[in-house]
């Protein structure tokens, strides 16, 4: 008996044997097929399948010689009335998407209020991160801050120390721009050796949203900031950690945003509702959440997260302080580590590229561990300091392969191999690992995380 596997390009395959008991076959022969028996058979087939292959397709074995049961059989969603509008007043993804959620890396931190939840890049398309899947990094837990009680104070080297309510801020001229945000420690687990299995954990402290807010320059001008003396900006959060970071004011004045919007709605509480600083190209820790204060100053502040953490230790024992820019980087997201190819043949290999220094100019992909490269297609839009999606065709012949991507940004900077970075920075700097990622494809179709060289 053959069946059609609706999940595998309609190939006709052998059905699992003995999925009907002898009694059932005798009953069928005697009484023919009715709806009860049809349902029973389907269940029997399902059970046989789940025990064997595990693909839970809705399959009618008797129809298999005539064609695909997904077509020949009337499905429940074709023959009944669907749900009402606004059944889910705030929509949620399909139940079939339940596996794609933010996840923690076990053992990375010991308290979940100061931890990370990674974005499932292995399942995302395009360049925009859905708000519910935006990665989370909390230093002292998160809150739903009452927007009516939230204030932004601007002080320091300004003519007027000013206070703004959300009402004030949201009346100001706003911009909406798409930018990536990447934690400085993204891929930090992999400085010494391969440590984690999938792209969610190697690269998942990365997201990209359309942010809406008032340009920082507009606010600072309004307060009469002294931008000649004031080369540094202290951004402070309103949470318990009072997170503070020094920002290079000269550098970010053109594109930083004091933002409340995220992909068309207000920021999510775990991402800083109702206000956060958006500092394009700069590591995520500087995008201070629950932003309550901006201070213009004439020297950096050496706050805890720039004096103890977020420094890059070099082999000579010196730590690079105030490392901020996220350099050009890319990663293949599908197929990627931990994924399983079911068969040989054509695949669209897809990934993300980004640079804290501007636009992505080119992405090359290698299928042989970096020996030969082909230039991938860049999908639009290609925006400055935003994720850029790339795709490239691949026909897999079933032999082992090593997939890599290598991005080049508009400054001409070429994403380096891990060895090149280690030669300069050693293996203990934790932050700013923008090395080329390698995924090995075995002949069994499984991909795994490896490092080449």
């Amino acid at each position: 008996m053959t069946r059609i596997d609706t999940k595998r390009r309609g190939q006709i395959q052998q059905a699992p044997e003995n999925f009907l008991t002898q009694d059932a076959i005798a009953d069928l022969n005697k009484n023919g097929m009715d709806n009860t028996r049809r349902g029973f058979m389907r269940n029997g087939f399902m059970a046989a399948l789940s025990g064997a292959v595990g693909f839970g397709a809705s399959i009618n074995a008797l129809a298999s010689t005539e064609g695909d049961p997904a077509i020949l059989e009337k499905q429940v969603w074709q023959t009944t009335l669907g749900k009402n509008v606004a059944t889910m007043p705030y929509g949620t993804p399909s139940i079939y998407e339940a596996n794609l959620i933010r996840r923690e890396s076990p053992g990375l931190t010991r308290v979940s209020a100061a931890s990370v939840a990674f974005t499932p890049l292995q399942g995302l398309f395009g360049i925009i991160t859905p708000n519910g899947l935006h990665f989370e990094r909390q230093h002292q837990g998160w809150y739903n801050i009452d927007p009516e009680m939230h204030r932004l104070m601007v002080n320091g080297l300004v003519k007027h120390n000013r206070v703004f309510t959300m009402n004030d801020l949201m009346r100001l001229p706003s911009v909406s721009r798409i930018h990536f945000i990447e934690c400085g420690a993204n891929t930090g687990l992999e400085w010494g050796n391969v440590a984690v299995p999938t792209v969610q954990y190697t690269h998942g402290m990365l997201s990209c949203c359309e942010f809406t807010g008032v340009p920082l320059s507009v606010l600072l001008e309004e307060c009469g900031a002294d931008l000649k003396k004031g080369k540094y900006l202290l951004a402070e959060g309103g949470d318990g950690s009072g997170m503070t970071r020094t920002v290079n004011l000269d550098d970010v004045l053109n594109d930083a945003i004091v933002a409340w919007g995220m992909n068309g709605e207000m920021l999510r509480p775990e991402n800083g509702f109702p206000l956060r600083l958006v500092v394009p190209g700069v590591q995520g820790v500087s995008w201070v959440k629950w932003l309550r204060r901006l201070e213009v100053g004439d020297m950096p502040y050496a706050t805890k997260d720039e004096a103890v953490h977020y420094n890059d230790l070099m082999p000579d024992g010196l730590a690079r302080q105030y490392t901020s820019i996220q350099e050009c980087k890319s990663v293949i997201t599908t197929p990627s580590g931990g994924q399983q190819l079911l068969d040989k043949g054509f695949y669209n290999v897809s990934g993300l590229a980004w640079s804290g220094r501007g636009k992505i100019k080119r992405v090359d992909v290698s299928f042989d561990g970096g020996n030969n490269w082909k230039t991938a297609r860049l999908e639009t839009p290609v925006l400055t300091k935003a994720l850029t999606r790339f795709n490239i065709d691949w026909v897999w012949d079933g032999s082992p392969a090593i997939l890599q991507s290598r991005a080049i940004d508009e400054t001409g900077y070429v994403q380096p191999a891990i060895k090149l970075l280690r030669d300069v920075r050693g293996t203990r700097s934790i932050y700013h690992n923008n090395a080329i990622q390698s995924w090995k494809v075995d002949s069994n179709g499984e991909l795994s995380n490896v490092q080449v060289g």
Binding site: E97, A307, E327, L342, G370
Partner: protein
Amino acid sequence: MYKLVKFATAAILLSTMIAVIGSAYAQKSNTKFPGIGRDATPAEVAAWDIDVRPDFKGLPKGSGSVEKGQQLWESKCAVCHGSFGESNEIFTPIIGGTTQDDIKTGRVASLTDRKQPQRTTIMKVATVSSLWDYIYRAMPWNAPRSLSADDTFALVAYLLSMAEVIPDDFVLSDTNIAEVQKRMPNRNGMTLKHGLWNAKGKPDVQASACMHNCVAFVQIGSVLPDYARNAHGNIAEQNREYGPFRGSDSTKPPLDKLPGSVSTQTSAHPAIAKPKTPEDLFKENNCSACHAKATKLVGPSLSEISRKYQGQAGAEDKLVAKVKAGGSGVWGPIPMPSHPDISNETLHTLVHWVLTGQ
């Protein structure tokens, strides 16, 4: 009604207060956006502008002794950080890994010789202001902003005494903290010579964009260790169960061949086939909202229940009926709701698990 009146009064008071603030700190005439924002009062700036810079701008007047710091530490900090700031239980250690020689040179030798298994805070921090600022603004972890300036001086003093930066009888204050800075073990350990402070910074590596025959021999230097294969949970359950890129079943060794061949012996798709554990059912049916394994919540703990019914004949049937019907009395006055929606099969699985752990 009383509440409503109270609320209305409060609202009037509040609006009056805002009006007062608004008139006292009105718009400056040179603003480009009339009607938006107001000047901050001195008290407001003082309340929020608490940062302390490396040059000690922003440091309040005050002082605290090592001895007082030790007392505060024991009562507020030791539970997470250990009595000597050495604990690695919850956070990385604060103290350890520095020497008298480091205090002389201002460079922590253990950052290069790798003799320390972990980098402690005192090994890394170059500026004493960073310690003061952070403790004052964010500690203790569960009660930030509860320490006074004097408390903070005392706690910083205690930490520095443990690192032998200052003697045990020292009183740290706003007047001598600059002298203490000169003894910080890693004060010369930071560098600003790098290309990552601004977007135009010079990169420290220059890779080539070679396209063909770039490497003579592709060598794999590192692979995922076997023990890490399933350390993040089953990867199959972290990917779509349809489409071209499924997750591999990391609870099992890799497949011996491609699942796309006609073989039916493989399970590329365990998320659906995997039966639910009693523990899954326990969570799914919301039992865990009121019961925990070993501690009493709203209802008795599972271990209490299994102890009570240990060895009793018919206990499983009896409890299945009780869970289904609900009721109170056995464990106190809080009633257990009825659970008519849970199937008998599931109830038996659950109760069996509670009683036997299996």
